[in-house]
């Protein structure tokens, strides 16, 4: 890193940072990010208590998962970005190997082949690992190359992206494959991919859409059709979306009150404590609650972008930027689908929906951000 940039960063941080430096940087935690995340987790538990039908056992289970996830975050934060950089390729290859293993012998759960089971030990979704391994791998690849990436680099990145994404999509898990793909694409975009190329690739993607449609499962096509016209099958595929928009809409400005949402509590809302939990929030806390939670998410995203900009090397910048933006995509796709402006894909509301794996992955991602932020080299390499 050049001395003048380092000076710039120092100046922007000011004196206050210097005082706290000893406390937080030693334990490699970003207090801003941690604080915002904890507020989100606690809010999420409050909503989950209501969404689970006042089931404390569910809330306790979620807290346990959060404990594990926070530990993962803290542990990852202790690792230096250099270590993460070295792990990028092995992690990616391991993820790829496990995806292939799932393809061959994976466990079928909820109609899709997503789980890898080591009997008696653990059930594991390799696609979750890929959510982190993918941006790390692409960033690692671009780390030593001149940026913006040239055509050859883009091709290589395209292959790194395509293989796992296709494997995940085949499971079938369209939601996760989209998230993994977008993680990779964000790395490229943040790396300075030229606008001409972006335009060209966007056209290519648009041209590929019919191909995607042809390769979709019937239920996936049905979801898209239902999204376009939910009333066409109000008791079947359209039921979810009709009930979730009804829940949100009936919440009004101030909501029906905590645990008072009729759509949520009387079980009209399907998957109310998992993918559709934001509808419970919208029904019980109204527009005000929705705005507050969106602001909270935005603050986390902004903090992530700041961390990315303060990173000391290419790898750190790209990984931090991608993880942050992917986190936002989670939010956008989930709220978009529940409120009926996007088709239903299985994407949970990040850190609020009930479920362990995605929380662990997400908080692990924030651990990486903290690692990048807190392991500062005094001298540029």
């Amino acid at each position: 890193m050049k001395p003048n940039e380092s000076a710039l960063l120092q100046a922007s941080r000011g004196r206050a940072m210097k005082r706290r430096r000893s406390v937080w940087e030693r334990i490699h935690i970003d207090p801003w990010l941690l604080g915002l995340l904890l507020v989100l987790l606690v809010s999420g538990l409050v909503v989950l208590y209501s969404a689970s039908g006042q089931n404390l056992a569910v809330v306790e289970g979620q807290m346990m998962r959060f404990g594990v996830a926070l530990s993962a975050m803290v542990i990852l934060a202790q690792l230096s970005p250099t270590t993460l950089y070295r792990w990028s390729l092995p992690l990616y290859l391991a993820g790829l190997a496990m995806l292939i293993a799932v393809e061959i012998m994976g466990d079928i759960g909820m109609g899709a082949q997503r789980w890898l089971v080591i009997p008696g030990v653990v059930r594991f979704q390799p696609s979750e690992l890929m959510k982190l391994a993918m941006p790390m791998m692409i960033a690692a690849y671009l780390h030593r190359r001149p940026l913006p990436p040239g055509l050859k680099d883009i091709l290589v990145c395209g292959i790194i992206l395509a293989v796992p994404v296709v494997l995940i999509a085949k499971q079938p898990d369209l939601g996760t494959s989209l998230l993994v793909a977008s993680a990779a694409i964000f790395v490229l975009l943040m790396a300075g991919l030229s606008w001409r190329l972006i335009g060209f690739l966007a056209l290519l993607a648009a041209a590929a859409l019919p191909l995607l449609w042809l390769n979709m499962h019937t239920y996936q096509r049905q979801r898209v059709l239902t999204f376009l016209n939910p009333e066409s099958d109000p008791l079947g595929a359209g039921w979810n979306i009709i009930q979730s928009t009804t829940a949100i809409g009936s919440g009004g400005i101030s909501g029906k009150g905590w645990t008072q949402g009729t759509q949520s509590q009387l079980e009209f809302l399907p998957e109310r404590h998992t993918d559709f939990i934001v509808a419970v929030l919208g029904e019980e806390f109204g527009l005000i609650g929705m705005l507050l939670i969106l602001i909270l998410y935005l603050m986390i995203v902004m903090r992530g972008l700041i961390i990315a900009n303060r990173a000391q090397d290419t790898y750190g910048r790209l990984v931090a930027g991608s993880i942050t933006l992917t986190f936002f995509i989670y939010l956008f796709v989930n709220v978009g689908m529940v409120s009926g402006i996007l088709p239903v894909v299985g994407v949970p509301l990040p850190l609020v929906s009930f479920g362990g794996t995605s929380s662990v992955t997400l908080l692990a991602g924030f651990g990486i951000l903290m690692s990048i932020h807190s392991h500062r080299r005094l001298l540029p390499r």
């Binding site: 890193m1 050049k2 940039e5 030593r144 190359r145 001149p146 940026l147 913006p148 040239g150 975009l189 943040m190 790396a191 300075g192 008791l235 039921w239 009930q243 928009t245 009804t246 829940a247 949100i248 809409g249 009936s250 919440g251 009004g252 400005i253 009729t262 759509q263 509590q265 009387l266 079980e267 009209f268 919208g282 029904e283 109204g286 527009l287 929705m290 705005l291 969106l294 998410y297 935005l298 995203v301 902004m302 972008l305 990315a308 900009n309 290419t314 910048r317 930027g321 933006l325 936002f328 956008f332 709220v335 978009g336 409120s339 009926g340 402006i341």
Partner: protein, 631 residues
């Protein structure tokens, strides 16, 4: 150009590009969030009203509370129609694991034919919303209920529900007069008050059940409940109780009805008995009857075809739909018509050589007694049922004066108050013939009408009604079935004017002649009039089914049974204080005085004599019979 510098990383430029992209990303993130907020504002503010209604419609269900149908009782308080609890099988497919497997299991448990699986599958789809139970089967028997209870744990989503079902205890005897309820069909549904019938599955189809549907049904209540998505009721938000249908006490006496039915003994025929003072119908039997309980839940195709194809037509209500020639039973009324119109006097005689000839024609109209009754006056003409006298009288009257006088006794009109589906019979006149057939009336046709044949048709109810008016010496009563509704006496309006004769004594003349029919030495029904303990008036009739050509003689042995004469008898008693008037008709049984009169006598004895125990005996006998059947 940048590519030329290949391996050299321009960190400063990289940081600048990254910062620009980050700013752009932040902007896009804010814009996309703005998109979400716009959507939320649209849902939660702009369309809030629509969605709040929708969510209320989801959770609040209005459940109809069907009223309990009113009971039907006889005049002594015996049950004629009641409501019995029965058990229905329902399914909530959402709670069933494997639908196919569960239905197969059900069919095995209930020991139903295999093809029932498909029927159940179809029925499980017939509902309006998820988690609503669908009706699979009604009227489970006790064994099936027990089997289901044992296997309950294997059948999640399957429930047994109680429901009240109409039941008729004395169905064959009462089937026509009481009628029955059945499932509401599409046509009836279109004309019903949807709110009142929302929870009701059955509606009166015939008889009293149909006539008094509005009274018996009652008013539906409703309750507003909050339910969850599985349709489980969580709490009641509001409730209006149903008001049950009113009980109706019929004027029918079940014992008399039973006795009458037994006396008909499965033969085709009908007996109608009326209390002359009030018009209350004491018995109204059509034989053979049928099992109306079959119709309540929906009769099977085979059963229905069996009833339809039965040559004895059990579904046909002979009492009110059967239109028979009233035959000689009308002679007392025709005699009064002659007196009132001044074309004859009580003492005027006619010589009967065995036939009558219209002036200027050769055709002979025969008396039933081939060799004739010699010289007959009005009283003797009635007692011996002389045809020649009445040919002559009818000719002197002419058809139109005859018809209009007969209308006053209710012939050719439907005069009952609450008898559903009663036919009006036919009282022919020259005008009727012109309209109906476009032909002039021939004098010869008047002669047949004069002895109750020809075009003249009357129902047993009409014959019994006319007999009541005669018993009342002209005072009209409106025949009716309902005696009390909800404890209040039914007072039907007088539908026809009383008959006032120029000379009151003529009633005595005619009624005296009818007494002689029973007790006189020449009376046609004298064999049924022996040892009478009260004064009985009666008139026999024998209705031709088959028209004989001019000189042919009726020979029962040569004719098919279905072409045999109908036996008729009308009577009332006691003459000085009439308590009962009745009409008996037995199809194709032969002469009225020998086949129908004995039945009339037994019924009058049973009704009038305090020591006569045949009513009780009849009631008990039938019950025993029923017990045997159920065993």
């Amino acid at each position: 150009m940048r590519k030329r510098r290949e391996t050299l990383k321009d960190t400063e430029q990289e940081v600048r590009v990254f910062r620009n992209r980050s700013l752009l990303a932040a902007l896009v993130v804010v814009l996309m969030t703005g998109g979400l907020v716009t959507r939320l504002v649209y849902l939660q503010v702009v369309q809030h009203d629509i969605y709040i209604t929708r969510s209320d419609k989801n959770r609040v269900r209005v459940e109809p509370l069907p009223p309990t149908r009113g009971l039907l009782l006889d005049r002594n308080g015996m049950l004629l129609a009641e409501n019995r609890p029965t058990y229905n099988l329902t399914i909530v497919p959402e709670r069933v694991g494997d639908l196919e497997e569960t239905l197969q299991l059900l069919v095995d448990i209930l020991e139903l034919p295999e093809d029932q699986v498909a029927v159940f599958k179809e029925r499980s789809r017939q509902r309006q919303r998820p988690f609503q139970p669908a009706l699979l089967m009604s009227e489970l028997n006790e064994k099936q209920i027990a089997q289901l209870a044992i296997n309950r744990f294997r059948l999640p989503g399957i429930e047994v529900e109680a429901q009240l079902l109409r039941y008729y205890p004395d169905t064959d005897i009462m089937s026509h007069v009481v009628g029955y309820v059945g499932r509401i069909n599409a046509e009836e549904l279109a004309n019903l008050d949807k709110g009142d019938y929302a929870g009701t599955h059955f509606i009166g189809k015939t008889g009293v059940e149909k006539e008094y549907e509005a009274v018996l049904h009652g008013e539906a209540g409703l309750r507003k409940v909050e339910t969850n998505a599985r349709g489980r009721v969580l709490r009641e938000l509001g409730r209006t109780d149903p008001s049950p249908g009113k009980d109706i006490v019929l004027s029918i006496d079940k014992r008399l009805q039973k006795l009458a039915y037994q006396l008909l003994d499965g033969r085709r025929g009908s007996i109608v008995a009326i209390q002359p003072k009030t018009g209350e119908i004491l018995a109204m039997v059509s034989s053979p009857g049928f099992n109306s309980n079959l119709f309540v839940t929906g009769i099977s195709y085979q059963d229905y075809r069996g009833l339809q194809n039965d040559p004895d037509l059990p579904l046909y209500n002979r009492s009110i739909r059967g239109q028979y020639p009233p035959a000689s039973t009308v002679k007392p009324y025709v005699a009064l018509a002659g007196l009132e119109n001044g074309v004859t006097t009580p003492t005027k005689t006619v010589y009967d050589p065995g036939f009558y000839k219209l002036p200027g024609f050769d055709r002979r109209y025969h008396n039933w007694l081939r060799w004739g009754h010699g010289r007959v006056d009005m009283r003797r003409a009635i007692v011996v049922s002389n045809d020649t006298y009445f040919y002559n009288l009818a000719h002197d009257l002419g058809i139109d004066r005859l018809a209009s006088f007969m209308n006053r006794f209710g012939f050719g009109e439907e005069t009952s108050y609450d008898v559903y589906g009663a036919a009006s019979g036919l009282m022919p006149s020259s005008e009727w013939k012109r309209e109906r057939h476009g032909q002039v009336w021939f004098p010869g046709e008047t002669l047949s009408v004069g002895i109750g044949q020809g075009y003249w048709l009357a129902t047993p109810l009409q014959m019994a009604t006319a007999m009541s008016v005669l018993a009342n010496r002209g005072e009209w009563v409106t025949p009716h079935l309902a005696k009390q509704i909800d404890g209040e006496a039914v007072k039907p309006p007088k539908l026809k004017e009383d008959i006032e004769l120029s000379n009151e004594q003529w009633w005595n003349l005619v009624n005296g002649a009818l007494e002689d029919v029973m007790t006189g030495s020449e009376g046609t029904a004298r064999r049924s009039g022996q040892n009478l303990a009260y004064r009985m008036a009666g008139k026999s009739g024998t209705a031709q089914v088959f028209t004989l050509s001019n000189d042919e003689r009726y020979n029962a042995a040569e004719l098919e049974e279905r072409l045999h004469d109908h036996a008729l008898f009308t009577a009332f008693a006691p003459i000085e204080d009439p308590k009962i008037a009745l009409a008996v008709i037995i199809e194709n049984a032969g002469g009225g005085s020998s086949h129908a009169a004995p039945l009339a006598r037994q019924l009058l004895d049973a009704w009038l004599l305090p020591h006569d125990e045949s009513l009780e005996a009849a009631a008990e006998a039938t019950e025993e019979h029923e017990i045997h059947e159920t065993e």
